[in-house]
């Protein structure tokens, strides 16, 4: 299964994601953000990896949304060519680019938080308890009334923190836009794959992605 991992200047989780997905049997390649590409239709999944795209200056993800690759991703989404998955900084970019509702702002303790957290993944028949690492400064999810209504109506809030670690509205850790096939989440499932890691729950997460989404597209 072909997966494209998008690299902006400042992205720093591309190798982590590559190694993890390769281990899970995906066929990965990097896509540099300003590289010339006709379209992305060959890929079953496009991943926006974690990091600090363009230094996260001004606000996380705000500059990345102007990159040429974002147009190609929009085209990819419109054509329903596959899944777009944004992890951490990728989630922030998706929100900034209006591909997912809401925004991610500074954690309510105004500090970077790096630790393992317990999460609940709830979608249709899937009900998983996950333990995944988080590592972010701007993971505090907020949506205005209108956006929040949309989230609830479309049941987008598929991933929630058990304890509200960063001040996120309604404990939201990730969103899944089922119609457009877009997922964004703050935790790092790619860092919980290998046997030597503290948790292997990332495997469950990608199993969910594979069985529930990729096989149906």
């Amino acid at each position: 299964m072909k997966v494209g991992i998008v690299v902006f200047p400042g992205t720093n989780c591309e190798e982590d994601t590559y190694r993890a997905l390769k281990f899970l049997g995906f066929n990965c390649s990097y896509i540099f953000h300003n590289e010339y590409i006709d379209n992305l239709f060959d890929y079953r999944m496009i991943i926006l990896a974690g990091g600090f795209s363009f230094g996260d200056y001004i606000a996380s993800g705000r500059l990345a949304k102007f990159s040429p690759i974002i147009c190609k991703i929009k085209e990819y989404i419109e054509n329903k060519a596959g899944l777009v998955l944004g992890i951490c900084n990728g989630f922030q970019i998706l929100c900034e680019a209006n591909l997912l509702p809401g925004v991610l702002t500074f954690n309510n303790n105004n500090k970077f938080i790096s630790k393992s957290v317990n999460l609940k993944l709830n979608y249709k028949t899937w009900d998983l308890n996950l333990n995944l690492p988080i590592a972010h400064f701007e993971g505090n999810f907020y949506a205005n009334k209108n956006d929040f209504k949309i989230i609830k109506e479309k049941k987008m809030d598929f991933l929630k923190y058990n304890q509200n670690i960063n001040g996120s509205m309604d404990f939201i850790a990730g969103l899944y836009d089922n119609n457009n096939c877009i997922i964004g989440l703050m935790p790092h499932p790619e860092r919980a794959i290998f046997e030597y890691s503290k948790s292997q729950d990332g495997r469950l997460f990608f199993e969910f992605i594979k069985e529930n989404i990729l096989l149906k597209i």
Binding site: G10, N12, I113, S114, A135, S197
Partner: protein, 723 residues
């Protein structure tokens, strides 16, 4: 520019003139002032550091040294200080400290695998210290997290001697295939290329500024000092990491050197001096942040995120196009030549022409050494507790809740410890060793440690004891120690007491590293660490690396329910010295007594026993005894599962000073071992004639009890964990 000359004395000036056979022009004086500053030239320490040379270390003369790790890897690692900048501008100082050490590793074409730090401040009763602390942590967090390298280990201490000041030492470690190492030795006929950020006015004179004592009475000078601190740009560093990787991977670089202290000047002069050749530099060709920079400022600027690489003519175009792709600035500003001359041009005018070997190796001093009075006085003071009127419960809580001992999760949770996806052991409340996966047969363990009070009391034995504590921490998790790096932070070296501390510390380090067969891979010296003429304690930081061939054999550091706890080693008795133990400082604010010599053979014997027991699957967890003594080690073992305990901790001194036995730190090795196979373990110890005691059994009760005293365990856990 007058300020610059403050590190060049008249005598030194005369010596240089004599060696050159001519007077220097103003520009050349400036160059010499920077290059002969303590920070760049190590003129006071060089002679003594030679004792640390070890033939098992690979490339000791490069930016960092290495040890072989497994069959196909070199591990390069180094600690570096950034105290002066951090004291003046804590956020930028700490951030650029990491930037600097990462470049040292990067320039060798290593993949940087981990970061660590050791930070020290004054107590929080002074608001300024709290601010310094918060800003330093924020600097490390912002910079370290952005560049995609996990911060896996660290230590933090608060002591009065660091009042209004900050010790910021940072560690970086990288791995490389031996065939791919890129050295910093030039040869003639190469283009000199500067890669990365623009050169600006920040950090001009950083090297000379870091070679004097700071004094916060003089406001003018402080303003000037602020300009000497560099500005960090982690985003540019990330781009530089990615761009350099591509340039290195395509083998386009002949030699490389990071631009750190004294900027272009020191990086280029070191390149040509190591390569026994010369260079023509054209400073007007360097890409600048602002116009109107003088040549002095260009050559001395310590603007961050820059590297100097030497490239063959035919590779230049490829280098330029990779730089463009990654949006990194680049300029070609010189070429190396056969003639051993360091020539600097600006707009076609020759500003300086000097022999590189004098530039990089001008002075070497001998220090005067005499045992200071204060040590003689402190050694004689006896530390005793009167057993009447003791409130042990209160005192234990006081020790556990002391900022230097208690839970540090509020610090390390601000550092991304899992990026890189190779972290096996993350930082935890128990402290100790962290671990990184290199490949399936090579697991790396690392620990950072220091003990300023012990080194203050007895420089030689104190350093040996700090060293051995790192050693024991690694052994306790099953890692075999293979190399160590160090950062020696001292006060004004021209003071006799301080030079004694320094010389004896280095002696101790050289001795124990040889005895334990753990070579000193690299190091850094930082002098003149004082404010208002108050010297800091001699602060010797160690970062030790150990190896293991299978991560499944890592030994746990937390006891489980219903296990028997053994003490491997002897309980403390009347004859042992416990000078500068942590509890003495916490309970009575005293640093006194004597420190015994480390017993090298016993250390090695215990290591072998532990590895053997681990292989035989007889032990479940180990907690080494160090800061806080026997009780603290037991507490840390019980901590994760919040267990109770019942047994004996006092064997010898129950009649007189039992605090000594509970909390004292002696030089002999001691480990707490938990097991469910107590009979087998007992038999092995008995047959081999090894000292041990059975302390007791862990349980799920609400209490921790020993020697007929019972305490509420939740009280202890709360003291330790709550912030």
């Amino acid at each position: 520019m007058k300020k610059n000359i403050y590190t060049l004395t008249k005598k030194e000036y005369k010596t240089i003139v004599k060696r050159l056979g001519r007077e220097l022009n103003d520009f050349e004086i400036l160059i010499f002032a920077s290059m002969t500053s303590e920070h760049c030239s190590y003129k006071h320490s060089k002679r003594y550091l030679k004792k640390l040379k070890n033939k098992n270390v690979i490339m000791q003369d490069q930016n960092a040294g290495a040890v072989k790790f497994g069959n196909n890897n070199y591990i390069f690692f180094k600690l570096e200080s950034h105290n002066h900048p951090s004291a003046v501008s804590p956020y930028e100082g700490a951030a650029t400290g990491i930037g600097g050490i990462v470049r040292d590793i990067l320039t060798l074409n290593c993949k940087c695998l981990l970061l660590g730090n050791s930070i020290k401040f004054g107590n929080f009763d002074n608001k300024k210290n709290e601010n310094l602390f918060n800003e330093v942590v924020r600097g490390i967090s912002t910079y370290g997290n952005s560049i995609g390298i996990p911060t896996v280990c660290g230590e933090t201490q608060f002591l009065d001697c660091y009042n209004n000041y900050a010790i910021v030492n940072v560690l970086a470690l990288g791995v490389v295939n031996p065939n791919d190492v890129i050295l910093s030795n030039a040869k003639p006929g190469l283009k000199v290329v500067i890669l990365g950020s623009t050169t600006g006015r920040d950090g001009v004179n950083g090297a000379t500024f870091a070679s004097k004592s700071l004094n916060d009475d003089i406001n003018d000078e402080q303003k000037n000092d602020k300009l000497s601190v560099q500005i960090s740009d982690p985003f540019m560093k990330r781009k530089l990491i990615m761009g350099l990787k591509e340039i290195f991977d395509k083998k386009l670089v002949y030699a490389s050197q990071d631009c750190g202290a004294a900027g272009i000047l020191s990086s280029t002069s070191e390149l040509v001096s190591k390569g026994h050749c010369g260079v023509n530099l054209y400073l007007d060709k360097v890409h600048l942040r602002q116009d109107e920079l003088s040549p002095q400022e260009i050559i001395l600027s310590e603007s961050q995120e820059r590297m100097v690489i030497l490239v063959e003519d035919y590779n230049i175009n490829q280098v330029l196009s990779i730089a463009k792709k990654h949006e990194i600035g680049v300029s070609i500003f010189g070429e190396t030549i056969k003639d051993k001359k360091y020539n600097v041009y600006f707009n076609n005018e020759l500003l300086a022409s000097l022999p590189p070997n004098i530039l990089t190796n001008a002075f070497e001093y001998r220090l005067k050494v005499k045992k200071p009075k204060y040590i003689k006085i402190l050694e004689k003071i006896k530390f005793e507790h009167n057993n009447n009127n003791l409130d042990l419960e209160y005192d234990i809580c006081k020790i556990l809740s002391h900022p230097n001992f208690k839970n540090k999760s509020h610090i390390f949770e601000q550092f991304d410890s899992t990026v890189g996806n190779k972290t096996i052991i993350e930082p935890s409340m128990c402290g100790g060793v962290s671990s990184i996966y290199i490949d399936k047969d090579n697991i790396l363990g690392v620990s950072i440690d220091s003990n300023p009070q012990k080194v203050y009391l007895s420089p030689k034995n104190g350093v040996e004891l700090s060293f051995i504590e790192s050693y024991r921490k690694l052994v306790a998790r099953g890692f075999n120690p293979v190399g160590v790096t160090n950062c020696l932070n001292f006060a004004n070296i021209e003071n006799k007491d301080i030079s004694y501390q320094f010389v004896k510390s280095v002696e101790g380090l050289a001795n124990i590293s040889k005895k334990m067969n753990v070579p000193v891979v690299s190091g850094n010296v930082s002098m003149y660490n004082e404010t208002n003429n108050k010297p800091i304690f001699p602060t010797v930081i160690f970062a030790m690396v150990g190896c293991l061939d299978n991560y499944k054999t890592i030994i746990s550091n937390c006891f489980s329910n219903n296990e028997t706890i053994f003490l491997l080693g002897e309980p403390i008795d009347d004859n042992m010295n416990i000078g500068a133990s942590f509890y003495q400082y916490v309970l009575q604010d005293k640093v006194c007594g004597k420190i015994d010599k480390v017993n090298y053979n016993k250390e090695i014997l215990y290591r072998n026993i532990i590895f053997d027991l681990n292989k035989k699957n007889i032990i479940n967890a180990i907690s080494p005894v160090h800061t806080g003594g026997l009780f603290a080690a037991l507490f840390k073992g019980l901590l994760k599962n919040k267990l109770g305990f019942s047994g004996t901790l006092i064997f010898n001194l129950f009649k007189n000073d039992y605090y000594k036995e509970l909390f004292g730190e002696c030089a002999n090795p001691r480990y707490l071992i938990s097991t469910t196979k107590q009979n087998e373990l007992k038999e092995i110890f008995d047959i081999n004639n090894i000292d041990y005691k059975i302390l007791g059994i862990t349980n799920s009760n609400k209490t921790i009890s020993f020697n007929k005293m019972t305490f509420d365990k939740t009280l202890f856990y709360r003291s330790f964990i709550d912030t």
